[in-house]
């Protein structure tokens, strides 16, 4: 699979009805905290930057790519994904999101390969549609294998 950082452990699907955007980012990032890729402070930094700078992580329709600058608690490049079956508004209702990607980078270059691969998937509108419609982790992994 092109995006081999996305696995059964780092991809989650939830209903999303009871989530706000902060919880969605925390939930999406939790597998990376659990496996030691990032610290809790990185998760908070991703939330803080949106609170300060606005919903710029909304990179495409219903797609968010949460990330912050490299920091000490980021031990390696990381990527995780939470798919919410219902839309969760990122800050405002103008930014509804169902695909919550979390990216962690250790420097300005280490993550470029991941972005490249992710971009290839997201620029393919058929695959993005399938990801948005997927209701299980296995379904998502199948689409990513593409």
């Amino acid at each position: 699979m092109a995006l081999d950082l996305l696995t059964k452990k780092t991809v989650q699907v939830q209903d999303g009805n009871d989530l706000d955007w902060q919880t969605a980012i925390k939930t999406a990032a939790q597998p990376l905290v659990d496996n030691g890729t990032v610290g809790d402070d990185y998760v908070q930094a991703m939330i803080d930057v949106v609170e300060k700078q606005g919903p710029y992580i909304n990179i495409g329709p219903e797609i968010a790519l949460a990330h912050s600058r490299p920091r000490a608690s980021v031990k390696r490049v990381g990527l995780s994904l939470l798919k919410t079956n219902s839309e969760v508004n990122l800050v405002t209702k103008d930014h509804p999101v169902k695909l919550w990607f979390v990216l962690a980078a250790t420097d300005s270059n280490s993550h470029l390969g991941v972005i490249q691969q992710l971009s290839q998937v997201l620029m393919d509108s058929d695959r993005t549609k399938k990801l948005l419609a997927a209701t299980s982790t296995d379904e998502i992994l199948d689409v990513l294998k593409g």
Partner: protein, 98 residues
């Protein structure tokens, strides 16, 4: 000719846009040498590039850049939108493409 993709941090989405523009220029068989880079919106100045690509949430942050050099991408992952907007620039600049 130089294009620069901008995002808030200069780390993630701007690189994605840079790559997508490069791929598109290849697909369009553009022979002219067009440099494509990425940066964060805070450090970009008008002299850095001929055209800047950014998403609507950065419009205010990019207010210091000349309006006619700023291309707003509603989605960073919409191949059709990117193609339309890049080709419009190529046509305007008289740069041959497919």
């Amino acid at each position: 000719m130089k294009f620069e993709a901008l995002c808030q941090s200069g780390l993630g989405s701007s690189f994605m846009v840079q790559m997508n523009i490069q791929n598109l220029l290849n697909q369009e068989n553009v022979k002219e040498n067009i440099e494509v880079t990425h940066s964060d919106v805070g450090s970009a100045t008008a002299a850095d590039a001929d055209y800047f690509f950014l998403d609507p949430t950065l419009e205010t942050a990019a207010a210091g850049l000349p309006e006619d050099k700023v291309i707003i991408l509603k989605s960073l992952v919409d191949a059709n939108e990117l193609k339309e907007k890049v080709n419009a620039i190529l046509d305007k600049e008289g740069i041959a493409h497919d």
